[in-house]
Symmetry: C2
Subunit: 218 residues, 2 copies
């Protein structure tokens, strides 16, 4: 992701390169202001191209560009939870959270806009993009837990924890990124174990998982 | 809140009564379908009045009616956490959750629409209404904890738990209201204690609160 300024307007880019350049410029604008404050003119200026060129790539205008930028951000967020199935489980979760919080840190206002909606261009399609990230994160985590056929109580616990991660990230941005990211990460990992332990009292499958986590930890 | 059918159209209602009647009709429609599927004609029909009369009360049309219905639902949700400051803390929380889950149960699709947004009439104003409910719930709970001047770690824990309650409620609706509401309530109360306990390891104020909770429980 090179800054737009390093790509002189006269250089001939491929369609894919140009598209990526425009999405980069749009993402960085959406990352720092509310979607309703982003204009196609602003995107053209940030990318060092003409407004008609932006329209050529995104004939649907701002809404289409916004959705494409969200999809690209969502893709990046999905990769945060893409962790090799190796080594103890909790350090894997900690590494995924490190990537997630680093995404939150670098996109701040854009992350808030992505999750909180409340923009004039919010639609059921953009909500579906965000829901897709949540579901993908839950599936990644469940696959790491290596529980064959996870039941509804375990699934609910994981899904609720993911929204807790989101909420904590939004509050963290709101509070000027306090506490430090490493503390927030550890707190979230410990919360994960704590909420699983609560579920374990009612669910044999989760109880077995918690025992496995404790023995791997020991 | 009498059903619209019990109010014959010829009865002369006061302005306030008429407004409440229209909001009731709107709420019950928004409660069972997505906002984009609700029409002013439908509201007029449900309330047994003419479409022009609905416009007289809500000249802003569907958007205004939607926001007024949301505000009325938000007001009802706020009251769920309005609990006397009497008796042990966790049973107070359980009673608040009983009211909250009963609201979720009776408004199902409307609750989902309220929280998930993603509707064509979603705006930053409707998001602010929902955020207001969250903040009010957090303030209610913090006031029950009787911690003078709660610090950022305790506040974050309470706010994150509230979003966990919301997420669990949405998933609960999605899963055909399983597990039973009483089990979900107990699970949420136990989660509250569990996440406070995690925070207590890093925050003296929360640690004192967890000790007080444990001794009240004993």
């Amino acid at each position: 992701m090179s800054p737009a300024a390093s790509t002189p307007a006269y250089r001939r880019l491929s369609v894919e390169e140009r598209r990526a350049q425009l999405l980069d410029a749009a993402l960085s604008l959406f990352a720092h202001r509310a979607p309703e404050e982003v204009s196609l003119d602003g995107v053209a200026e940030a990318a060092g191209v003409s407004r008609p060129l932006v329209y050529r790539y995104f004939p649907g205008g701002k809404q289409q560009l916004y959705e494409a930028a969200l999809r690209s951000a969502a893709e990046e967020l999905r990769h945060c939870f893409d962790e090799p199935h190796e080594g103890p489980l909790l350090p894997r979760l900690a590494r995924a959270l490190d990537r997630y919080l680093s995404f939150v840190d670098s996109h701040d206002a854009g992350f808030t806009a992505l999750l909180q909606g409340g923009s004039v261009v919010e639609t059921s399609r953009t909500t579906a993009i965000v829901d897709g990230v949540r579901r993908a994160a839950a599936e990644h985590i469940l696959s790491h837990l290596e529980v064959p056929d996870p039941g509804p109580r375990l699934r609910m616990t994981v899904r609720v924890w993911i929204t807790a991660v989101e909420a904590a990230s939004l509050i963290w941005l709101d509070e000027g990124k306090q506490p430090p990211a490493a503390e927030l990460r550890d707190w979230l990992v410990e919360q994960f174990v704590a909420v699983l332990t609560v579920t374990a009292a009612r669910d044999a499958q989760t109880a077995a998982l918690v025992r496995a986590l404790a023995s791997a930890d020991a």
